[in-house]
Symmetry: D2
Subunit: 131 residues, 4 copies
């Protein structure tokens, strides 16, 4: 399972003294991006050379505990399912042993020029751990 | 059904040329806040005087189309379900007639001092349309 | 002087209970965008048809008072100076009569394809109030 | 000179394909926070136990080059001046050798309960490199 450490800064929090609910989605995406990077996939090159971007189609997020300023969190990434054009990730945000949030994220490969779904580039598919 | 008009600014977009997926959650919350306001509920006063805040517990979001810079959107709010401590909202983001996104949002009343769930303040419950 | 009303939402605040310092820049930009719009300038069309975007080159911001959740603010826009490729704006954020923040913002017209400064499109210049 | 490495994610960019101008302020603050942390200053404890927070009073930012998605940046922090209640920082954001942005940031120690300026806590002052 891939993990990314994340520190909570003022920018992430709100007047309730906790991390603002939309900002967990930033943490989840940073982890998916770093997961791609450690597979040696360069998102910018894939977009420019293969006319393919990864678009989020559906998310489901549980907010279990409140993360706070200065918290040191760990974001996890697991591939739950892969199809021709879509990948479903299971992710979580942990503070030590306890789960702060859990998420299921469905992304779809898109061709920006055609504005339509397209196949996951084969070279990426080959690098993904089979599930 | 309550609706709030929202304009898309540069701050909302990302390098993909579309609204960044986390930022839809900001639009959804602005609409819930204005929905409370038109019921004459002052969130800041409720927090200070009744030790009660509204915390998001669960969200489910469909991303159906891409919203873009300068788009004029409409965010909708409907109460789907109400219990002792929780409210479930059905929300959508429309561009003209077409749905850009749909969401189900479950919020829970919390006592910040006790760090535990608490009842929806009765005066708020009375103002909510029965469902 | 052009003015834009802005409401402070949770997304704008931080754990200090006030508007996060970077988010004032979002308010300032929303006001500049609406100022352009009321001059009937369509930023998206200008970018696509004239290969011209407005890039911020320099800002100077005074933080005078703290804006808070639910505050109703007014953002002002005045053109202080205009040259061939640059415009300097004087802006402020007011809460009622009191100034919450003041800013000087220098923007430059840029050609994204040439990555270099370019002239302010003449049709925009003609619509700007002379200073 | 203290430095912090920062990676640019989608959340940081806008539809112009570059880092949104307000988001550089987040990078600058992350670096000041980590600078404090390596001096072994715990901002949360200082706020709770000493009733003292660091509030930004004035910023001046030069935007010299555009940072882009996936860029690996370095944010620098130098103390330029220290007085009884204020510190002035010189900061920069570098991409390799080239400066992407430069900033001067004046912060002021504030007592949240008294809503007024207060002295820099002596234990922090002692740990600051003299200038």
């Amino acid at each position: 399972m891939f993990t990314l450490p994340i520190r909570v800064y003022y920018e992430d929090t709100d007047a309730g003294g906790v991390v603002y609910y939309a900002n967990y989605l930033k943490f989840y995406e940073r982890a998916r991006t770093e997961w791609l990077r450690q597979l040696d996939v360069d998102q910018v090159a894939v977009a420019q050379e293969l006319d393919t971007v990864f678009a989020v189609r559906h998310i489901e997020v549980d907010y279990l505990r409140a993360a706070r300023l200065d918290d040191q969190l760990t974001v996890t990434v697991t591939v739950k399912e892969m199809r021709r054009a879509t990948i479903v990730f299971e992710q979580s945000i942990l503070r030590g042993e306890e789960a702060v949030s859990k998420a299921t994220v469905k992304i779809c490969c898109m061709s920006p020029s055609k504005l339509s779904a397209c196949e996951i580039p084969p070279f990426i598919r080959e690098r993904l751990p089979s599930t």
